[in-house]
Amino acid sequence: MKNFLFELKEGLAISFMAIKANKIRSALTAIGIFIGVTSVVLMSTAIKGINNSFQNGISALGADNLYIDKWKWFNDEEWWKTRNRKNIDMDEYEKYRELAKLPAAIAPTVWTNQNVKNGGKSIDGTLLTGTTNEYLATTNFTFNEGRFFNEVESKGNRNVCVIGSDVAKNLFGGSSALEQFIKIKGIKFKVVGVLSEQGSFMLGSFNPDKQVYLPIGNIFKYFQSQNFRSVTITVRVSNTAMIEQTKEEAQGIMRKIRGLNYNQEDDFSINQQEGFTKLYDQTVGVIQIVGLFITGLSLFVGAIGIMNIMFVSVKERTKEIGIRKAIGAKKRTILSQFISEAIIICMIGGLVGLIGAVILSKVINQFLPTSFQFQAVILAIVISLITGVVSGFAPAYSAAKMDPVEALRYE
């Protein structure tokens, strides 16, 4: 062990001397690795960031929720098979709520898109979610200020609302939105709560940051009739282990409410966020793999550059190798000298690449969420190390197996 450390130390010292002697060449070669490591680390950082954001979004909405809906959300079947299903209405929701024993919370939801205003500022096509006070218990929402609307406000269909963080930012800028009023279709609603950022941009317009929550009766009163759209019943499962039982219970109750015979198919669907995840994996997952592959290619090109330069270097220093061998360098010593030279070049490129990735990820974070973590540091070091060993091995081996007599004769 002591012997090995000695050889390592001396080998590194010799390699550093050789790199210093060829500064420009070494620097140019390291650039290839720098670009490769930067792109791979950046890519993995972006992937991590997007995944985190998606997971946050899913958990903000409640990862174990069931959604009893007219539609099957992630459907492989033809849409016309479910087209003629009856809308789920508020009566059915009430009956289900009465009969269901297993869920932790149940809330009806309806959606509509409207223009939302505060004075001169307005946002077109904001998603309004109409629901009851119980909806809060189906989510993991956190608040910047205020609260969700309460049972009294919900049952009395008071003109109150809870707004997402983006909505608050756009309508009220930096100032507090609490106790302020927003106007929807000319009707005033008092803001009782502002959500903190839920960070789920992957969910598009379903992102809670971009929504306004109202007591459900207001939606029917001002924006659309009760029968215009089906109600979606959001069901919070008491714990993950209960998902299947809760689902079966819901199916049983809904069939009973709808009065279906044993030979009739369900005319409703019980959806899960699992579908979201699957869809996400299918599309984003493929993009990620392709992205990593392409950035991996740039690293590969860098590695070939190193290998090429190392071969040239070995050829150039044939005489030196001969001298070293005559004086007593073993095969292993020569091998490790050249491999460590390749590793040092890769490490320099890799560390600079890491710094580049940190800076770039800060820049990209302005547009896309990136998540720079300690793993990225390890990733960069491991990548550089492996690239160095892999690209340095063949040239180093050709140096190690040189015949000292021939090498000494080389001019």
Partner: protein, 242 residues
């Protein structure tokens, strides 16, 4: 004491379809503190013999014992060890590492021997001092004259205290005056009790040695003791050897 014992060695190279018999049948014994010159015209096989003696190459057949240990069947790594510990090379073209200073060049065999840094530097400095280069230890080869470079090479050869010094045309690239200085240095090293093998094709250089082995066509033509060897009278360089 017998250091080198070569019995009936032969070396055959395959050049294309042709077999080249570089050495046919050579037997030599060299004892401790001998000063032997190996002479021969080019193509005689003396370079091959030198590579063999220096453990840079192994014979096709025959026996080579170095200090009583057979080296003709040794692996590359074991040969490297023998070269490192027992043989000090001095070449015609000096063969110093161009980018390293004199001190690092002399340190090199000690690095491969696993000597720790502080001790190594001390020993390398001393070796350079002994060949009269105490004030040049941080000069690179291109900042030194030919004679000085050869002295660095000699310091590198001596620093491991090897069993033999193997010099291959050591004055071939030097003018006659500097060559005389180097031969004086060799003479001093020899009189200090070292064993020197000198490979040359020049009669007057060979006459510095106490024994001349003449090689021709891969065979020993003559092996003679020199009655009145030439004692060079160049500049005294060698100070002492501890």
């Amino acid at each position: 004491m017998n250091i080198i014992n070569i019995e009936h060695i032969a070396k055959i190279y395959q050049v294309g379809t042709e077999e080249v018999h570089a050495l046919r049948d050579v037997s030599i014994r060299i004892n401790k503190n001998e000063y032997v010159a190996i002479m021969g015209p080019s193509g005689s096989g003396k370079s091959t013999l030198m590579n063999m003696l220096g453990c840079l190459d192994t014979p096709t057949s025959g026996k080579y014992e170095f200090k009583g240990i057979s080296v003709s069947q040794m692996s590359d790594n074991d040969l490297a060890k023998v070269r490192n510990k027992e043989i000090g090379f001095v070449f015609q073209t000096f063969n110093l590492l161009p980018r390293s200073d004199a001190l690092h060049n002399v340190e090199l065999p000690l690095i491969y021997a696993g000597v720790p840094s502080a001790e190594r530097k001390e020993r390398a400095k001393e070796a350079l001092l002994n060949v009269g280069l105490g004030d040049r230890i941080h000069h690179k080869p291109n900042e030194l004259s030919g004679g000085q470079r050869q002295r660095v090479a000699i310091a590198r050869a001596l620093v491991t205290k090897p069993a033999i010094i193997l010099a291959d045309e050591p004055t071939g690239n030097l003018d006659s005056k500097t060559g005389e200085d180097i031969m004086t240095l060799f003479n001093d090293i020899y009189t200090q009790g070292n064993t020197i093998i000198l490979v040359t094709h020049e009669e007057y250089i060979a006459e510095h040695a106490a024994r001349i082995v003449r090689i021709k066509d891969g065979l020993v033509e003559r092996d003679e003791t020199v009655e009145n060897r030439y004692i060079p009278n160049g500049k005294k360089i060698f100070t002492s050897q501890s």
